[in-house]
């Protein structure tokens, strides 16, 4: 059994769109280049591929439509019936059947033409066969235009149906139009159903959720039912009947006591008796709505008798008013309790219960003595419970205050503070005082703590903890201490002074000046290094190598230094004095090698022999002078 999600059905395209999409997909996703002179098997394969690709796409999309739409036999009978009422089972099945037939026909067409293409001996013939095949498939789909349109409408409506769980706890509201069913559901749940003075405002089922006794309950609002036989009922009323017939719920039959809905109480009773058979095996409650306009006690004798008869039969009649909210909670609790009891009963009668019951065991502790140990309820809870029962007037809420004052209302939480001096409640509190953060010192016990600290300090002082150890030291030590302090101070002064002195003046770094060869040799010799091989040494070789450049550099050094401005063009040295041509060559080569990440001149490694951006893809619009 496939799990259906009515909201996740894929969009059904129109016939024209469907054809356009599939054909353009074939054109884009299959190879497009073929020539007369290719081998015949290649030509055949090329066109066969196109035919099969188109067939595959059609097949896939049509199969998806067929699997997405629910089979009326696979879903819960409530939904099957609802869909029959809304969309007509026959039409629905026919439409899906047509799609299935179209799918099979397309498959057959592709099979035939692929078989024929095996005998194609020229490009022209294969091409014509492919054209005939694709054309045939598209014609088949063009004929499904009306089916596809119908299925798209069904899908849109289906995705907006409310998700009603047929197996969970449900309360069902029914009655004449305009009696107050939608107002009731608006009061009890968070559903926002439209409430209007004209009849048939609610045109389909609405569901809302509420909580009672830590359980989730569904409340289903139905469109109003009029009193005529089943065959004459229209689609809107049939939805209500379907809900009544299939959902195992507590039924709340809503009646309008004031007869403002336009139907007398007698008519409402008639309807009640007519649809009575649908209430079999369901807990039933009569909700006498609009009692703020007219109470039952104000009615005429015969009308009061109606309600009396109903309560005699055992059906609770509860007066409510959705406007003043009296009795609404009562109805809710009564209905929920009855439904729970009913459900528990049915479960107890069933077979599955014993599995669970066998595993449950309530252990009661055995009495060890005669002492009474009742449960402990604190006094505050008792008083509160009493207050709740009596429905005593609660203290005035901020909300009520807000309603009263309207625009003048300002939220003032400072009035709830518990201070020693009540006048100080509205005082402004500064944040900083004498350089201290007031927030750091806020503590309800701060005065107490301060006093304790002071007491401690006094004790400590008295005990002599803060007396210094001066007497234990002899005079020598004291003198030494004084001297040491003086020395330290003097030292610090000297350091600061020396730092201020500038002995050497501004200094060049050691590497800035050139070292003469003979000074280098003399110093190294003095240090003890063996200076015999002077010409073969590295510095000598370097000197010889860079003599030519050094000469040039000398000339540059003698030229007056030009001031360096921001724009290079003005301050570049003139051409004949610039860097040599050879150096330029070398430099440009280095630049190119650096950019390509080459290790050296001889590095000819190509990282990407077939770059994708040059070789992949079709030749679409644009120039083709690059490959």
């Amino acid at each position: 059994m496939a799990l259906y999600n009515f909201k996740k059905i894929m969009v059904v395209p129109t016939a024209k769109e469907f054809i356009d999409i599939t054909l353009s997909k074939t054109q884009r996703k299959t190879p497009t280049v073929i020539h007369k002179h290719y081998q015949i098997h290649r030509i055949r394969h090329f066109y066969m591929r196109k035919v099969k690709f188109t067939q595959q796409n059609y097949h896939d999309r049509l199969t998806q439509i067929l699997t997405d739409f629910p089979k009326l036999d696979d879903i819960h009978p409530f939904y099957a019936d609802l869909m029959n009422v809304l969309y007509d089972k026959d039409h629905y099945k026919l439409a899906l059947g047509q799609i299935n037939i179209a799918k099979n026909l397309i498959d057959n067409v592709a099979k035939d033409y692929v078989r024929l293409m095996k005998y194609g001996d020229s490009l022209y013939r294969c091409k014509q066969l492919k054209r005939a095949a694709l054309g045939r498939m598209c014609t088949i789909l063009k004929r499904q235009k009306s089916s596809l349109e119908y299925l798209e409408q069904v899908r849109q409506h289906l995705s907006r149906l409310p998700t009603i769980d047929p197996n969970t706890r449900t309360l069902l509201l029914c009655g004449y139009p305009n009696v107050g069913k939608s107002s009731f559901i608006n009061k009890v749940t968070r559903a926002d159903v439209d409430v209007q003075p004209y009849a048939f405002t609610t045109k389909s089922l609405f569901v809302g959720h509420m909580d009672y006794r830590y359980l989730r309950w569904q409340v289903v609002d139905t469109p109003g039912i009029l009193d005529h036989p089943l065959e004459d009922r229209n689609t809107i009323e049939m939805q209500a009947i379907t809900a009544l017939a299939h959902l195992r719920a507590a039924v709340l039959y809503v009646m309008d006591v004031s007869e403002q809905c336009g139907h007398t109480l007698q008519e409402q009773l008639e309807l009640f008796n007519n649809i009575r058979p649908l209430f079999a095996n369901k807990p039933l409650i009569i909700v006498a709505n609009k009692c703020d306009v007219k109470k039952i006690t104000e009615l005429s004798e015969e009308n009061q008798k109606i309600f009396a008869d109903l309560s005699v039969e055992g059906i609770p009649v509860i007066e409510t008013s959705t406007l003043t909210e009296e009795g609404v909670m009562q109805v809710k609790t009564e209905a929920c309790d009855r439904l729970l009891a009913h459900r528990v009963d049915t479960k107890m009668k069933g077979k599955k219960v014993h599995d669970v019951l066998n595993r449950l065991h309530l252990a009661m502790p055995t009495k060890r003595d005669e002492k009474e140990r009742p449960p402990f309820i604190p006094e505050g809870a008792l008083t509160r419970r009493k207050a709740m029962e009596v429905d005593a007037p609660k203290r005035k809420l901020e909300r009520d205050l807000e309603m009263e004052l309207g625009d003048d209302y300002i939220l003032d939480l400072q009035k709830y503070w518990d201070l020693m001096n009540d006048d100080e409640k509205q005082d402004k509190i500064p944040e900083v005082w004498e350089g201290h953060n007031i927030a750091d010192y806020i503590d309800p016990d701060i005065m107490k703590k301060l006093q304790e600290l002071e007491k401690e300090e006094e004790l400590k002082e008295r005990a002599g903890e803060y007396d210094s150890d001066d007497e234990s030291e002899d005079e020598e030590m004291q003198e030494i201490r004084v001297l040491a302090k003086q020395i330290r101070e003097k030292k610090q002064l000297m350091v600061v002074e020396s730092k201020e002195k500038d002995v050497h003046g501004p200094r060049m770094p050691r590497t800035a000046t050139k070292v003469e060869r003979k000074t280098l040799e003399k110093e190294m010799g003095n240090l003890g290094l063996d200076m015999n091989d002077k010409d073969g040494s590295h510095y000598a070789q370097q000197a010889r190598r860079s003599r030519s450049i050094a000469k040039k550099r000398k000339r540059e050094a003698s030229a007056p230094p030009t001031s360096k401005t921001r724009s290079q063009s003005a301050s570049r040295p003139p051409r004949d004095q610039s860097v040599s041509f050879l150096l330029l060559l070398i430099l440009s080569q280095m630049k190119g090698m650096n950019r390509q990440g080459k290790k050296g001149e001889a590095d000819r490694h190509v990282f990407d022999l077939k770059p994708k951006h040059l070789l992949a893809g079709k030749r679409k619009s644009g120039t083709t002078d690059r490959r």
């Binding site: 907006r160 149906l161 559903a191 679409k620």
Partner: protein
């Protein structure tokens, strides 16, 4: 959760966005610019398809405009009464006399003897042997070339059995054997899918007629019992001739016109 007509309900309660109407109006007015941009910038296959569609749209628009202007523009009306229609009291009461029937029969027989019929395609390109028959090489060294395979669509009868493969000279592959043809009635303008009874004449060569090769211009006999035609004498007509009007090997189907 959003149920049933929540969008409409929201619109009813809260109205539209403050700029909704403005945005809508501007979007609609931009459509003309977008359409012209598309028409100018599209290239390739998409452009061809778009221009074709647009051309058809424009023709319709022009017609409606003209109709609105003149209110006298006549358009093709299929329900028009045919020319030469005569009111009932002027019709000849007499039916066809027997002499007329006899003379028609004699004329038919003379035509058949002469072998000329009035056919929709009087002249057809003759198909050479190299086109229709492909040489199949056989033998141990693939040197013998006496077998031929038919490359066009053909019809073989119901009780057809091949000759033993060693001796069969003409191979008619199963993939190219067709049993049904799409036959159009020229006056009714309706097309039916009728089973083929046989190949009467292939204009290219009598050899093809015996082989049953169907090419463009071939006259075939089809089973018209579906149509329920009845002769003057009350006999049911169940076989009629039709001429093939397309190249079946290129289209994968046989389209023919009934010879009335």
């Amino acid at each position: 959760m959003p149920q049933n007509e929540h969008i409409e309900l929201h619109r009813k309660r809260h109205g539209y966005r403050l700029d909704h109407h403005e945005k809508k109006r501007k979007k609609e007015s931009r459509e003309a610019h977008e359409r012209s941009h598309k028409a100018r910038k599209l290239i390739g296959l998409k452009a061809k398809l778009y221009h074709k569609q647009r051309h058809a749209e424009k023709i319709q628009m022009k017609k409606t405009i003209k109709m609105h202007e003149q209110r006298k523009t006549k358009q093709k009306n299929d329900d028009k009464t045919p020319e030469g229609a005569v009111p009932a009291y002027l019709l000849d009461r007499e039916g066809q006399s027997r002499a007329k029937v006899l003379s028609n029969m004699i004329k038919q027989k003379r035509k058949e003897k002469a072998g000329k019929w009035e056919v929709p395609l009087p002249k057809v390109r003759a198909q050479g042997e190299t086109e229709v028959l492909k040489v199949i090489r056989t033998g141990k060294r693939q040197k013998k070339a006496w077998k031929r395979m038919v490359t066009k669509v053909c019809f073989v009868g119901d009780g057809f059995t091949r000759k033993p493969p060693k001796y069969e000279r003409f191979i008619r592959p199963m993939g190219l054997r067709f049993k049904k043809a799409h036959v159009t009635h020229p006056e009714l303008k309706a097309t039916f899918c009728l089973p083929i009874l046989g190949v009467k004449k292939n204009p290219s060569s009598p050899l093809y007629t015996t082989l049953g090769v169907i090419t463009k211009g071939t006259v075939i006999e089809v089973n018209v019992s579906e149509l329920g035609l009845v002769t003057q004498g009350g006999k049911v007509v169940w076989g009629k001739y039709a001429q093939v009007t397309n190249n079946p090997e290129n289209d994968g189907c046989i389209n023919a016109v009934l010879l009335v």
